[in-house]
């Protein structure tokens, strides 16, 4: 089998999530394939190239989703596509989040920015089988409320577990005085500050807790250090790394992270595995 060969996918629905971010609902001929939360596809277009993109929803009713930010050559091109257009994918690739290990435990989901996208299938998995897990918390931070993704799903999520939301800044401060909290139109309360500030809000037994962290590497670094201080084992902390990738199957070498192939051995790693490696920030 030639794993470099892409297949056509059709954009069933397209939804603008935030500034420069859209969610693509896709369908392909080779459905259903099975994918795990945290895995990714190589998504692209002939003549433009390919980029690794995580599933933001696994296959349901013959569709799956990707949430993509226009960041460079490939993603900017995808940003220009419309509903009904075709694009090309291949995958799924990589190791996902160890959801089975989380069963029976307290689950901390911590996301920064676009990092919520790869965690969304985890959330959906938990919602489907809520009973399998102990307490669940979602801590989610973004630059400002305009960059918050999936806000229309917060309601459903909150029915099952608490959400803690953080913003670096407010996009339109209505008063000059510095504030610690802000509410948006729908009544969601945002803390102004860093994601790490929110760690105090969760009550856990460290030995029975597992954490899935996804976001910019520097944010993951501080979150993981915070979690270690709370007493969670580094082997129970999971992070998802981003590296440049061309093949997705541990051949092209771009994603090598000190002997590890992020595409094959990751992108989800235990913090223990990747902590302190050179050329990384963790």
């Amino acid at each position: 089998m030639n794993r470099l060969k892409p297949v056509k996918a059709r954009i069933q629905a397209l939804k603008k999530q935030a500034h420069e971010v859209k969610t693509y609902t896709l369908t392909t001929e080779n459905l259903p394939f099975s994918a795990l939360p945290g895995q990714f596809n190589m998504v692209g277009f002939p003549g433009v190239g390919e980029a690794p993109i995580s599933f933001s929803a696994l296959v349901r009713e013959n569709c799956f989703e990707h949430t993509i930010r226009s960041a460079g050559r490939v993603t900017a091109y995808l940003d220009g596509l419309k509903e009904g257009d075709e694009l090309f994918i291949r995958g799924p690739y990589g190791k996902g989040w160890p959801l089975r290990q989380a069963e029976g435990k307290t689950v901390l989901l911590i996301a920064g920015g676009l990092g919520i996208a790869p965690l969304r299938p985890v959330i959906q998995g938990i919602l489907e089988k809520r009973g399998l897990f102990d307490k669940v918390y979602l801590i989610y931070g973004a630059k400002n409320e305009k960059h918050m993704l999936f806000t229309d799903e917060f309601q459903t999520w909150e029915e099952e577990f608490p959400l803690f939301l953080a913003l670096d800044e407010i996009s339109n401060p209505d008063s000059g005085s510095p504030r610690m909290k802000v509410r948006d139109k729908r009544g969601w309360e945002y803390h102004i500050g860093l994601v790490t500030d929110m760690l105090d809000k969760v009550k856990i037994y460290p030995q029975r807790t597992i954490a899935f962290v996804c976001g910019p590497e520097i944010m993951m670094r501080f979150v993981c250090r915070g979690l270690l201080l709370m007493g969670i084992e580094s082997s129970s902390l999971y992070v998802s790394l981003e590296r440049r990738m061309k093949c997705g199957i541990a051949h092209c070498g771009h994603c090598q992270h000190y002997g590890l192939f992020v595409c094959k051995d990751g992108p989800v790693f235990s913090y223990k595995q990747v902590r302190g490696l050179p050329d990384g920030l963790l």
Binding site: G47, V48, G49, Y77
Partner: protein, 256 residues
């Protein structure tokens, strides 16, 4: 599909870039067919220099003040503006002038320099923002094709930006620097020519200009060790890089 509107502008140079489009054998028919030529002095009588342009290609070094003013106007009227050729990309050959006192050079050519209005030669990105660089003197076919086909397919172009050595090795040439001791500029020069000079048994003279991550000083040090004189090293780094920091930096090590 509407044809993209193309403008071609020439400043101080040999006009070879505009000609390269005609030398562009395999693609010339499609280029003529797929683009609407709005302005191209060498190909088209009349034409509209005021745009707007979907794509503007600018060749040549900026050596007179009016050129910079005109260039800024073109920038405003163009969705995409590419520098084409070493002159526009990094000053090219005309920038050799900036290695010596300006008046000296000028008075060597004209007895009466009162009618001359030259300014210090610079690449076009000294004055405006550029969307991409089609390197080479003459510009490499691959990058030129990439630029034009990217406009046609509405994506960002992916230009080559590794060293000439990469192409040299892909071709399987025996390295003329290591094996024959020729002062090859390939290791610091941007690829795109297909390692032409080493394939023709000679050292690269950097006509594609410095690559982004070039380490000029390190190569200058190597040349020094090979026994090249200070002057020879200086000449190698200023033939096509007189207006570039990457190559100018190499001259610092010659001071001591």
């Amino acid at each position: 599909m509407k044809k993209p509107r193309l403008g071609f502008f020439k400043y101080s140079c040999c006009a070879g870039c505009e000609f390269q489009v005609m030398y562009f054998q395999k693609h010339v028919l499609e280029t003529l067919k797929n683009f609407e030529f709005i302005f191209a002095r060498m190909l088209l009588r009349g034409g509209n220099p005021h745009g707007p342009f979907d794509i503007a290609l600018v060749e040549g070094t900026i050596t007179e003040a009016w050129q910079a003013d005109e260039l800024k106007k073109i920038r405003e009227k163009s969705t995409l503006l590419f520098a084409i050729g070493s002159c526009a990309v990094d000053g090219g050959i005309p920038a050799i002038k900036s290695t010596m006192p300006e008046l000296d050079v000028e008075s060597k050519v004209y007895a009466d320099i009162t009618t001359i209005h030259s300014i210090r030669p610079h690449a076009i990105d000294a004055y405006i923002k550029v969307d991409g660089y089609i390197r080479g003197c003459p510009p490499g076919e691959r990058d030129l094709a990439e630029a034009l086909s990217s406009v046609l397919s509405d994506k960002k172009p992916d230009f080559i930006n590794y060293s000439v050595c990469v192409e040299c090795k892909l071709k399987g040439n025996v390295c003329v620097l290591v094996a024959y001791g020729m002062p090859c500029m390939g290791p610091v020069t941007n690829a795109g020519c297909g390692a032409l000079c080493p394939s023709m048994n000679r050292a690269c003279y950097a006509c594609f200009g410095p690559m982004k991550q070039a380490n000029g000083p390190a190569l200058a040090r190597k040349f020094k060790m090979m026994g090249l004189s200070k002057e020879d090293i200086k000449r190698r780094f200023t033939e096509f890089g007189a207006d570039t920091l990457e190559f100018r930096r190499a001259l610092d090590i010659l001071e001591d």
